[in-house]
């Protein structure tokens, strides 16, 4: 774990990511002004997912940690998704 202490992320990296995140935010606002039916929600959530992955990978350091942390995050999201999916099996087919 010693190499972790020496790994310093440059300020620049964070600022680039911020610029990207703001751009994505404004894009999602713009896109959702156009009427695209159900696609609107999908796109908005997709952009949110992309933004999240940058926050997770860079700000929260997942890119530089042991891969097991990434798998755990994915696992948690997967479990929540499956629970929502199964719940919808009730509501969709009533």
């Amino acid at each position: 774990m010693e190499n972790e202490k020496n790994h310093i992320i440059p300020y620049r990296t964070f600022l680039y990511v911020l610029a990207l995140l703001i751009t994505l935010t404004l894009t999602s606002v713009a896109i959702t002004q156009i009427y695209l039916g159900t696609l609107t929600v999908v796109l908005a959530l997709l952009i949110a997912a992309v933004k999240s992955s940058f926050v997770l990978r860079i700000f929260m350091h997942l890119k530089f940690e042991n891969k097991i942390f990434t798998f755990a995050v994915i696992g948690v999201v997967l479990i929540l998704s499956v629970v929502i999916f199964i719940t919808f099996l009730d509501y969709l087919y009533r």
Partner: protein
């Protein structure tokens, strides 16, 4: 009194513990996302219309506020690692101020709704129909719970800032700063999803 070097310090254990705690927070809000998704499905039209009543401009500003605050706290770790204690503290204070700004915005936003008697349990809201009741119920509950987490996060960061100023957290012992950052980023992540789900599904 300076902190004596700890023989049994395990930073990875500390960080792992924080990540595990973040998982519980993800599932806590996850439960609300379950409720949101079901009721959105059952009241699509009403949710769509109610979302129009939220102020996209304030929502966007708040989103950007949190994104910047995540940047500043991430940068504060770099600053501390580079032994620039002063910059680290400035960045942390910026984070705190941004967090407070978010809360102030929320206060005014909620104030607008309360002025029109739109709040959980109000007669006015009940008259507007079930879809609206559920939309606003979820809106207040989820943004309210989120705001509570912002407050908790800010307290956490203030404690860390004090510790840094007293040299209890230093360039070679900063896992607590990292952990406070992780918590703050989670609060940001939750908002990244709340924002489109309430403001942008028009």
């Amino acid at each position: 009194m300076n902190a004596t070097p700890e023989i049994h310090r395990d930073d990875l254990a500390s960080k792992t513990g924080m990540w595990l705690f973040l998982f519980t927070e993800m599932l806590l809000f996850g439960g609300l996302f379950i409720v949101y998704s079901i009721y959105r499905f059952r009241n699509a039209e009403a949710f769509h219309l109610a979302a129009h009543e939220l102020n996209v401009a304030i929502g966007t500003i708040n989103t950007i506020i949190l994104l910047v605050s995540s940047t500043t706290i991430a940068m504060s770790i770099t600053a501390l690692q580079k032994k620039d204690k002063k910059l680290a503290l400035i960045l942390l204070c910026t984070t705190i101020i941004l967090g407070l700004a978010f809360l102030v915005n929320k206060y005014f936003e909620w104030g607008e709704h309360l002025k029109e008697h739109i709040y959980p349990g109000s007669a006015v809201l009940a008259l507007r129909g079930q879809g609206d009741v559920l939309f606003y119920g979820l809106y207040f509950f989820m943004t309210g719970l989120h705001a509570l987490h912002i407050i908790i996060g800010l307290i956490f960061i203030i404690v860390i800032a004090v510790k840094i100023s007293k040299d209890k957290i230093t360039f070679d012992n900063f896992v607590l700063l990292e952990n406070s950052g992780l918590y703050w980023h989670l609060v940001d992540l939750i908002w990244i999803f709340l924002f489109p789900l309430f403001y942008l599904i028009t």
